[in-house]
């Protein structure tokens, strides 16, 4: 029996998004559904997991299994799900505050644990859902938030560099304004065996109208990509302006999945307590 191939729109749930008109996340949703259609993923065998924030609303808009958890803990929930259900394709989505601030520890350990999942961070350098505070990727002199009226005064966080240092085997940067390249990157991320990290520059029209300039600033990387050399990857990431797109680093590390086997039963195990 042949099943007709699914189109990108078949992966959309039809629930109306809460995002502002013009939000970059619409393009990410669209690129993700295109990537899923391209890969021919069986809908019920996919779980999209997220935390809290504008971008974390994404699972409800996709017609697969979804888990919209609590702030910062998407990677933890996804890791438990993947450990218990290795048969599923697990995709994690979220924002810069969710992933790099409140969820920072899980980001580090998901990179080094290297379970087979794709992690898409829609980075707009701002907390949108709480109405415009600085995030870990906000530049230190951005002073438009009432909470940090003089800017944060602290250097911003370089997600790709951290992912590399923490041991991730796939690091990419995409842009919501380049949807076809983004689709290609997401296809590669989902196909990558191990933990795949994709930073998507996805501008906030409401609290960061200055990001309209990204259209001009973002550019394809001039380096020969991807590399599988972590030293070269570090050079590319550190020397870059943070606006270069492409799959920066792809290297195969052993994928971690808990071992289990069925070679005993509980009655046998309980015998150890007999005197």
């Amino acid at each position: 029996m042949t099943v007709p191939a699914l189109k990108a729109k078949d992966y959309k749930s039809g629930i109306k998004a809460v995002w502002c008109p013009g939000c970059g996340h619409f393009a990410v949703l669209s690129a993700l559904t295109k990537a899923m259609a391209h890969l021919g993923l069986v809908k019920e065998e996919v779980a999209v997991v997220s935390g809290i924030g504008c971008s974390s609303r994404l699972p409800a808009y996709i017609d697969t299994y979804g888990f919209h958890g609590i702030h910062g803990r998407a990677l933890a929930a996804a890791s438990g799900l993947k450990a218990a259900r290795p048969d599923l394709t697990v995709i994690v989505a979220g924002g810069d505050g969710d992933g790099f601030s409140i969820g920072g520890n899980h980001f580090l350990h998901a990179c080094r644990r290297n379970m087979n999942m794709a992690y898409i961070v829609m980075d707009n350098e701002v907390y949108g859902m709480t109405k415009g505070q600085a995030s870990p990727t906000t530049l230190p002199d951005w002073s438009n938030s009432k909470m940090t009226p003089h800017g944060t005064g602290i250097p911003s966080f370089n997600p790709a560099a951290i992912a590399l240092a923490a041991g991730a085997g796939f690091i990419a940067r995409g842009f919501s304004g380049e949807p076809s390249e983004l689709t290609r990157i997401l296809v590669e991320a989902i196909e990558h065996s191990g933990f795949a990290f994709v930073q998507v520059l996805s501008g906030c029209v409401t609290y960061r109208p200055d990001q309209k300039l990204w259209k001009e600033e973002v550019h394809p990387s001039e380096s020969d990509l991807p590399t599988d050399d972590p030293v070269k990857a570090a050079q590319i990431i550190q020397a870059g302006d943070g606006k270069a797109t492409g799959v920066i680093y792809a290297k195969q590390f052993p994928v971690w999945q808990p071992e289990n086997r069925m070679d005993s039963n509980l009655n046998t195990i309980e015998k150890e307590f007999l005197l």
Partner: protein
């Protein structure tokens, strides 16, 4: 009437073995308990240790009897001093009387005055001298031999136990220990005990409370655990990790407790019964995750092995002071299950019940064990198998009308698991409508609040909600590990022909109001007994309106164990 009618009363023997850290007090106690078990006794070994990893003080307390032993007694029949360094740090945990005997090595110096003050007898055995005459000889093994003779334990049983406990340390260690133990055993002294050994029964188990929680988790169907190490819960995880693997499951060591609770929620969303174990500080970190599990109706079980709190508190010693956070800790209106095992043996059933209740009711179950249960070793009758017809309701063939949070007669709705075509939904911590779509509408909030409340309130928990024993117009209400000492007091009173009813709560939430009120309606005296400072159960029961105004509270904080004599005094003497 249950097991407690044959609860150990005066027919038990209690031994405390003390020494500085590394002196081998705990190993000595383990072998002594095993030897008593080989002779057919049931028993209990608790331990007391300072926070030092090595070099502090340590003590092993062993009590054995022909009957079940579920608490330590009021005083020790025998105190064995391997040395007297740091003894002042825990002398108050080792009450003696003029009927007690102190076994002491003259080489360790004079028995400290604070131990002699009650008029205990002293018996000197040269542990160190005997040990130094043997290659690799250790003085604690000499003391073990001397102790076993005082306890009237058979030399063969002692030798079997030395081999069983030290067997993994190699033949040389075992041989040397056997020589030393025989020297101590054959020293010129005599048994001081009148208990007759029952002879070896076939079905006794030797188990700790933490292991028993592990067994209960597996019996309940748990096949995924994520957790972060913490005292005094880690042994649950260490015991489970290799055994889960053999049963097709797994354990994931998480980066912190925020991760572990969310990992088990993720795994349970995938359809695998999941559990974590922790202690107070870890539970505090998990609370936000518990709310997520509760609202998304994703079943999870958390075993919380309580220690002295708040904050870092007293990590190595016991207290029942996490009842408040367990019941009230979540934000929002968040009904869930709170249970507590009533003994080490009961850790098996209570944990199994918790896991299966969480699965059946698609909610959060908290199990309040504690250090005194978790890290004590017990010799008990094998816990019987209990088949519970409680399982997760799963939708295997969802149709177009499928609603994940549909309102049903029992308020539990069938869960569709990833991999099932047509059942796709997004589990959410946001309030939602029956289909699972996020909603901030009043009608949806009220509907789902009612659903989550009534699936618990209307459920028939059967007879296991409490152990209710005895009768009369006086009553003790207790919970968790305090039950052992309460049952001992009840045993004394029943033996004297006095009446008392005891209610030991295994299910703390949802509170079984009607059943409690019925039991308490004609009581003249009600005493609520627990091991914490604030009287958390007492206040909870008052807040829920089930206690008479005259009810009294006996709340004693850790780390000192709640002793039966203290409870008897609070009850107003022996009559």
């Amino acid at each position: 009437m249950s097991d407690s009618s044959k609860q150990a009363t005066s027919q038990s023997y209690s031994v405390a073995i003390t020494g500085s850290g590394g002196s081998g007090a705990v190993t000595t106690g383990r072998i002594l308990l095993e030897a008593a078990a080989q002779c057919g006794f049931q028993g209990l070994m608790t331990r007391s240790a300072g926070p030092q990893i090595r070099g502090g003080e340590s003590a092993a307390m062993v009590r054995f009897s022909q009957d079940p032993v579920e608490c330590m007694g009021d005083e020790y029949d025998l105190l064995v001093g391997l040395d007297w360094r740091n003894i002042e740090r825990f002398a108050d945990e080792l009450p003696l009387s003029d009927k007690s005997l102190i076994l002491s090595d003259p080489a360790a110096g004079e028995v400290p005055a604070l131990l002699r003050s009650n008029g205990a007898d002293i018996l000197e055995v040269p542990f160190k001298k005997f040990a130094s005459g043997l290659p690799g000889g250790r003085l604690n093994m000499v003391a073990l031999g001397a102790t076993a003779l005082v306890c009237g334990l058979d030399l063969k049983a002692l030798e079997t136990s030395v081999k069983a406990i030290l067997g993994n340390k190699g033949e040389e260690v075992v041989e040397s220990a056997l020589l030393a133990a025989r020297l101590g055993y054959n020293h010129d002294h005599r048994p001081r005990i009148t208990l007759e050994a029952p002879g070896k029964p076939a079905d006794h188990w030797s188990i700790t409370g933490n292991q028993a929680c592990g067994v209960g988790a597996l019996r309940g169907g748990t096949r995924f655990v994520a957790a972060y190490p913490i005292t005094p819960a880690s042994e649950i995880l260490e015991w489970l990790a290799p055994r889960l693997e053999k049963l097709g499951g797994s354990l994931l060591q998480a980066e912190d407790e925020l991760a572990s609770i969310n990992m088990i929620i993720g795994a349970s969303f995938g359809g695998v019964p999941s559990l974590t174990a922790t202690s107070g500080p870890g539970l505090s970190l998990m609370v936000e995750g518990l709310g997520l599990a509760l609202v998304s109706e994703t079943p999870v079980t958390v075993v919380n092995v309580m220690r002295g709190g708040p904050s870092t508190g007293i990590p190595t010693k016991s207290e029942q002071s996490d009842l408040n956070i367990a019941i009230y800790g979540l934000h929002g209106d968040a009904p869930h299950l709170v249970l507590a095992p009533l003994s080490i043996r009961d850790c098996v059933f209570t944990t199994q019940w918790a896991v299966q209740l969480a699965e059946h009711l698609q909610t959060v179950a908290l199990v309040l064990s504690d250090q005194s249960l978790g890290q004590s070793q017990a010799i008990v009758e094998a816990p019987p198998q209990r088949e519970l017809s409680l399982a997760r309701k799963v939708e295997a063939t969802p149709d177009a009308e499928y609603q994940r949070y549909a309102i049903t007669p029992d308020n539990v709705s069938a869960m569709s698991l990833p991999g099932t075509a047509g059942g796709m939904y997004t589990a959410d911590g946001l309030e939602h409508n029956p289909r699972g779509t996020p909603s901030s509408m009043a009608v949806d909030h009220r509907t789902q609040l009612n659903k989550r409340l009534h699936k618990l309130e209307d459920f028939d928990f059967g007879e296991d909600w409490a152990d209710v024993e005895g009768d009369g117009r006086r009553c003790i209400i207790t919970w968790g590990s305090s039950t052992g000492a309460v049952k001992e007091v009840a045993g004394w009173l029943w033996a004297q022909g006095s009446s008392i009813k005891i209610i030991s709560l295994r299910l703390l939430a949802p509170l079984q109001h009607d059943r409690l009120k019925e039991l308490l309606k004609d009581m003249e005296k009600v005493l609520v007994v627990e091991q914490n400072h604030a009287g958390q159960l007492f206040h909870y029961l008052h807040a829920e309106g089930v206690l008479p105004v005259s009810a009294e509270s006996l709340a004693q904080p850790g780390p000192l164990p709640l002793r039966p004599g203290r409870i008897l005094r609070a009850l107003g003497g022996g009559g």
